[in-house]
Symmetry: C2
Subunit: 728 residues, 2 copies
Amino acid sequence: MTANDVEGAVAATRVISSESGSTAAATAPQTPPPPPYRPHPLGPITAAEITHSAKLIRASWPESVDCHFKAITLLEPAKAELIPYLTAERAGQSPLDIDRRAFVVYYLRRTHNLHEAVVNLTKNTVESNVKLGPFMHANADGEEIVAVEKALLSHPDVLAELAKLKLPPGTEVVSDPWIYGSDGLKTEKFYDDKRLMQCFLYMRDPLNSTEADSCHYAFPLPISPVLDAATLELIRIDILPTGLDEKVKPLAPWVPVKGNEYIPEAQTLRTDLKPLHVVQPEGPSFKVENYSEMGRLISWQKWDFKVGFNQREGMVLYDVHYDNKPLFYRLSLSDMSIPYADPRHPFHRKAAFDLGDAGAGIMANNLQLGCDCLGSIYYISAVLSGSNGEPINMPNVICVHEQDAGIGWKHTNYRTNRAVVVRNRELVLQTILTVSNYEYILSFVFNTAGDLTYEARATGILSTQPVDLDLTQTPHPYGTVVHPGVLGSFHQHFFSLRIDPMVGGHGNSIVYDEAVSIPRDPKLNPHGTGYTVQKTEIDTSGGYDLDTSKNRVFKIVNPAVRNTVNGAAVGYKVMAPPVQPILADKDSFHYKRAEFADRSIYVTRYAEGELYSGGLYTNQSRGGTGVRSWAERHDSLKAGDPVLWVQFGINHIPRVEDFPVMPVETLRVMLRPVNFFDRNPALDVPPSTQAVNCSVGLNPTLESSVNGLTLGGEDGKASQCCASHGGA
Amino acid sequence: MTANDVEGAVAATRVISSESGSTAAATAPQTPPPPPYRPHPLGPITAAEITHSAKLIRASWPESVDCHFKAITLLEPAKAELIPYLTAERAGQSPLDIDRRAFVVYYLRRTHNLHEAVVNLTKNTVESNVKLGPFMHANADGEEIVAVEKALLSHPDVLAELAKLKLPPGTEVVSDPWIYGSDGLKTEKFYDDKRLMQCFLYMRDPLNSTEADSCHYAFPLPISPVLDAATLELIRIDILPTGLDEKVKPLAPWVPVKGNEYIPEAQTLRTDLKPLHVVQPEGPSFKVENYSEMGRLISWQKWDFKVGFNQREGMVLYDVHYDNKPLFYRLSLSDMSIPYADPRHPFHRKAAFDLGDAGAGIMANNLQLGCDCLGSIYYISAVLSGSNGEPINMPNVICVHEQDAGIGWKHTNYRTNRAVVVRNRELVLQTILTVSNYEYILSFVFNTAGDLTYEARATGILSTQPVDLDLTQTPHPYGTVVHPGVLGSFHQHFFSLRIDPMVGGHGNSIVYDEAVSIPRDPKLNPHGTGYTVQKTEIDTSGGYDLDTSKNRVFKIVNPAVRNTVNGAAVGYKVMAPPVQPILADKDSFHYKRAEFADRSIYVTRYAEGELYSGGLYTNQSRGGTGVRSWAERHDSLKAGDPVLWVQFGINHIPRVEDFPVMPVETLRVMLRPVNFFDRNPALDVPPSTQAVNCSVGLNPTLESSVNGLTLGGEDGKASQCCASHGGA
């Protein structure tokens, strides 16, 4: 292949095809039975609505047409409709109902004909139903992944290649499906205009091949079949380079190496980690109500918000208030991009968009009591859609619990020796997604001081690739050898958090502050010690960088609402960790596709449908749609409807310690009030006392006097509280 | 005053004065009775040793001389002596005893004659005893602060100025002592060569003046007396500028404003925060032993380390191992600097070095069970020295406990749906210091994955200053109005963590890695997606910056010890948050004194006595000693004895929410293994199970079936474990 084979990025288009289904159903199915809850415009789609949406779409086609559904999800109402609804609702008035709509994405089964439809569930009609243009592809789904694996592992060409490895008899070969990252090539065997899957093959430890949970990532094979995701046709088989350069060697017999298991029965487990329980004898401090059949309204410590859940973003928060003061209209993880460093064919196509290519919702774990969360746990379940248009039960996709987060504030008056100390209580909403090899633990964390934190923990297993055994102890230019014959290649993780704010109400502005030295001046700064803060208002949409050297802090402020103490525009600041921007060059598809991975901050003007910073369809996308493109409109933000996109992430240079499963790498973005309240909002949190906290003193009495001094290792009054809890 | 009055920084000198005490005691007191523990070279100084050191010093002077002791603390042995001792000790051999020495700093009472002595406690001799040269001043102490407050509040000149404010009858005026930050001025009334204190005056809320814990920081007064700390002589009274510029207005009658209390009885407390207990029914997982009378050896989850405590640094860790593998020889917070932004006289002198000027140990809080820590707590107490040379009992200065830190790692095999999840348990050693208005919560946090984190939480009360009431709603160039008439001025907090490493043993190197794009190349990087990692070895001592744009990561590596899997030098990386460097200009005293505040990373070659990055004597220091100066020696690091100094901090632009007491602002520096272990070191942590964790499911049964789908809100097996804990 040559550079001539590489097409430029072609903007995807949405065209109504002759093949498209009609928008008015010929014989519309009956409306579903009325739901047990009043429909709410932000209620996640229900099982009945999924089934009914699929029926309406099917009814728009001849009976012979088989639809492969990719998504049937809530189409949220336009902001102009929703704001009055939510305002009336909060005021205790009866809001005007808003039609509920489903957004449906589907293929005509076993074809590349992708359709996008809007179903009006209230009116029982299909409002639009269009075939999408070239270079637009829907997410992968579970049915497909299983089918692809089955097809390739029984394909004679693949078996012929595998035979060259002379694997031990009984070897179980396993395929990890991978999204085919666009590269714009266009030859007979190398193209990306059709939806493809590139599969990476592994095997279970031959010495442990009956163990279905054996870690196959310790046994990567140098064979990567590429299949057409629609037709399951084998396009070609890529052989992986396993040396230090791009050369591909002929397949050779496999050389035995040891395994590396993560399952507990393969370990000698520690025996000295004592149980630790979190107990709330009076129950939790939060309340959960249904605001719709599947939507949950949570109130806790002056916070209240609605929790939605959808296939793509997973957990979404709506209408977040503190003490009845509006803060955030909508909060969600908008997108993720994970471009890999290895430039060699075919690794250059490893660039996953786990939300758009798969879905944080549909990949959500069923969280288990006592395993994924600790303490007193409330679980939120969801219903999502399957490829057959039927609902999929998704139990326990979010766990809700409180946790202690150490001291929240303290002061000791040294004159009186009186200490006042308050603990920081947090409310955590946690969801975990598994995307094949990898896990993300994603949480919204609220605290008693008005802070709202988004936390991402990266864990799971590296997507490994083979490296020649004799290179095990040689530094590799594109990765770290994490096990004999196993390379964990470098990759970047970008998370994009979408913040649609209403701090103090709608009509917000985005500004940033910088701390700057004051030049020396005999009057103004005679000793060279002075500095001040400069404010910059962001007037038009655009991309921005963090800059620690200037202490640059981005803030969402409401110029129309002034702090009662000092008259500043009320605000929330964004405390985000800086991240190395995407390293792929600006002409690369990685860069073009990850429209958010070049800047820590994007600010756009709110526009309907602009929810996903990598664009609506990320799979084999080519760029040209996403937050960078929207920001480049240079929309005026003076009308006060900004959306803030905060990017953060990790450049993952694997360690041996990250294998066979990696300890969490944790990132946090905090939204923190700045001149929003009139004083510390946690002042009214009751002080931390032993009477409430029932801690247990461990110091043996013999330590209470050493060398004639009373050391008071243990507060004499300690054990009187809750003695029944015991202690060492 | 003019620029001509400003002296250049004069390097302080250590000279033996004619006034100096003799080094051999004429009549040495008897040795103290043998301690109940074998003396250990790293054992914190004991009460008997303090008393005896003071006796030896006093005995070196005529009886008429009164010594004002500033510090009597352990002088740790030289590394060359200590390493063989610790090595033998760990090998179970009998190490050769090392003489125990005390480091003694004292004044001849009510003079500026500062002395520094070394007492050999084993040999019962004074090994050195010298008078220190000009521009060297010891820390303030509690006795002094009380004396200064008393002197100024009864001084007729101060009372005369206060009278001009026409404060309400019965007003309680309070003085906050402040270290006098050097500015090099030298006139009759303005000088800094003698040890001074600048005091900021406040009053209690006149409507609440009998409440000793009323927050006087809401009532700053515009009067600042300056006293000689030795003689208590009033040098002058500074009147504070209260407008937007440097102009000082004549004192005018005080105008009533409301108070702002933080004490709970002044609040309407929340009533809906339910108790949350941390219970360890089988006791804690850690063990505490005495390695000396006052030293504690803690072992927990393969970690073991010695905990010391001294007046200046507070908590110190020695000889940190994991699974018997050496990691860190010594770890401590080395220094802190808090320079303020307001360039106006006298605020330009606000620059606190809370460790050197006061002491993290001597200012440590007496931690209370159930208040400062939650769960099963072990307290470590200490003995420090008082100004009279007698021991001071410091109970409960460190609390030790375990905490759950969420998920440690997880993987779900989507093929079998089996999830393996392990929680991250942490061991926390926490100490809290109060320096007048402000609190720092400082912790070492160990986890089950081989990570060691240093955490600093900043809380307490802003050091406020008055601002004209009519400027309350006007933006201020140097601060934030946090209450009517109250300015919280901008300031930077710099923390300096000293890491003396022995990763994999002594003989470490410091390197940094950067991730860099590979240029496009038809063979090497045909699609522009590639990147690699470049390593830079730090050969000579120097200062370095973090650089997120390059993903620059500093690592401590041991070139002589290779990872068994991939042959890389075993290492630990430093994950530190970037901080804006000090904003005071390079010619300012703030900059010169804070020798660590300009760089995130300093690397020096180990040298005896170089423990404090701002120098041994920070009070009214003038620079020229500290880590920047040591780094500028450009010592070769090839011999493998580097010390790593990690600086981090906050540029505190106050929010209204930070008053009257601020919610914690939390910073973390993590030391994380990189190719140190041969796999994830937390693999052997037992999986998280309900049987052990005893969580409580909160979902009401009615939610287990919605709309015909089994949503499984609660795992049926959940409540069988520990049902006695109850739940909502």
